[in-house]
């Protein structure tokens, strides 16, 4: 299944991305107020959606790991956090590029932007924690705890900063948007989704192999390297 997906997904994802962006850039009408600048939405909105989806996977893996520890859940948590951070960064950068002609500034302290910035910094901390802890079991437990705490914090930040005044527009629903704009947005969203699954699959495989190598090494190798200080049998 994994191998099939790894072979089949790249052409599907690429095809969807090209189709969605072709329709978005050439076929869909320009926005009445913003003109062609609005077309960045076909990449910005799906990127942020997919980032939130990947980080939700990370939260679920963190909770599951604490109840039922397994290297697979831990690897999936690591993979989804990294991919979510990637898509989130892409989304925020695209939003900044869009904000310059529309709002006149790259960055402003509106609730949604503030929340997005805090989200990125929180998960950068999460990734740093994973790098800074050597013991794989402790790393897994601690990053699960940090993953839960970071995910629970985000709605609180969202509501707390919302009490300032707001600039970012509210979500548009398919009812309020021209159908010709909805179609490329949907196609791009599926393209980003396919890329997310692909990235997570690859990253998950690497993470799982890393875990297995970390756990296997101290017992399998003669203990004359820097590993010599490890207690035998503790994995």
């Amino acid at each position: 299944m994994g191998k099939f997906l790894r072979m089949a997904l790249p052409p599907i994802a690429l095809g969807l991305l090209v189709t969605g962006h072709y329709i978005g850039l050439a076929v869909a009408p320009p926005d009445r107020e913003m003109g062609d600048v609005q077309r960045i939405m076909y990449a910005h909105v799906p990127a942020v959606w997919i980032a939130l989806m990947a980080l939700t996977i990370n939260f679920i893996c963190s909770v599951v790991y604490l109840f039922k520890p397994s290297w697979k859940t831990d690897s999936l948590a690591e993979a989804s956090a990294e991919v979510g951070l990637l898509f989130g960064t892409v989304g925020v950068l695209l939003g900044a590029i869009w904000g310059r002609p529309t709002w006149g500034v790259y960055w402003t302290w509106d609730p949604r932007l503030t929340t997005a910035a805090i989200l990125l910094v929180s998960y950068m901390g999460y990734m740093a924690l994973r790098r800074f802890v050597e013991d794989p079991e402790k790393r897994a437990v601690w990053s699960a705890v940090v993953g839960i705490i970071a995910a629970v914090d985000l709605p609180i930040i969202w509501y707390s900063v919302k009490w300032w005044r707001s600039l970012h527009q509210v979500q548009s629903s398919p009812k309020t948007v021209d159908p010709e704009m909805v179609l490329p947005l949907r196609i791009s969203a599926f393209a980003f989704l396919a890329f997310m699954i692909l990235f997570i699959l690859h990253r998950y495989r690497i993470a799982l192999h890393e875990r297995q190598a970390e756990v296997a090494l101290p017992d399998a190798l003669p203990t004359d390297g820097p590993q010599a200080n490890r207690t035998p049998g503790v994995v």
Partner: protein, 231 residues
């Protein structure tokens, strides 16, 4: 032979809190360092911004909370460093008591230390920035207590993690600062209202946010902490 009953959760927490406070009282190393650190932070704000008294007066609440926040990362890291020295934490884990008592004791100890620090900093801030406490001492102390509790609960969990990891001095602020944004926002806003008066009656909504934040993080810390220190 009757087996002795395990010690109750709150009793164990207060015994541990007493132990930590006794260590702190005998050495006074932590509070001394924190007081001078945060005093110089308060001074540095006025140097960095120039001698504009209006500006300093308007933002005094925010500066006070930043000074407390910077000091808190030092203090909370230290509260677990003393346990990792001589493997004291192993001893605590082996004791026939609930591991969650360790969280309660450490978080309460950190809160108390930060409140004491805030109590020392507020008179200095009043003198240094020329502010008046318009709403009186009651709301001032409530803001201080709620804000310090909100910093201490997630800070204790993260300090337990960071103090055992590589690069612990970098890791704790990296994890903690994004997390406590709502608490910092609410405490700074509430403190500014306490200092400058509250004509629109907004203070209670910021207290509500701080209360909710405290409830969530004391609960999460209480539930998750045993997993953090298990071996």
């Amino acid at each position: 032979m009757k087996r002795p009953a395990p010690i109750g959760l709150f009793r164990a927490a207060f015994v541990l809190l007493g132990k930590d406070l006794l260590i702190e009282w005998r050495t006074r190393a932590r509070l001394n360092a924190l007081v001078f650190f945060s005093l110089s932070t308060l001074l540095l704000f006025s140097f960095a911004l120039g001698p504009d008294t209006k500006l300093l007066e308007r933002n005094a609440g925010g500066y006070l909370w930043l000074a407390i926040l910077f000091a808190s990362t030092l203090s909370m890291g230290e509260s677990f460093r003393i346990e990792y020295e001589n493997a004291c934490l192993d001893g605590l884990r082996l004791a026939p008591a609930d591991a969650r008592a360790i969280f309660l004791a450490k978080a309460m100890g950190n809160t108390l230390l930060l409140v004491a620090l805030g109590g020392l900093l507020i008179p200095v801030m009043v003198a240094l920035y020329g502010v008046k406490v318009v709403l009186g001492v009651g709301p001032l102390l409530a803001t201080l207590a709620l804000g310090c509790m909100a910093l201490a609960a997630p800070g204790t969990v993260y300090a337990a993690i960071a103090s055992n990891a590589r690069a612990r001095d970098v890791l704790l602020p990296l994890l903690l600062f994004p997390l406590i944004v709502p608490a910092l926002l609410a405490s700074a806003k509430a403190m500014m209202l306490v200092l400058q008066g509250d004509p629109m009656n907004q203070l209670n909504s910021w207290f509500g946010l701080l209360g909710g934040f405290n409830l969530i993080y004391w609960g999460l810390g209480f539930a998750l902490f045993p997993r953090v220190i298990e071996d």
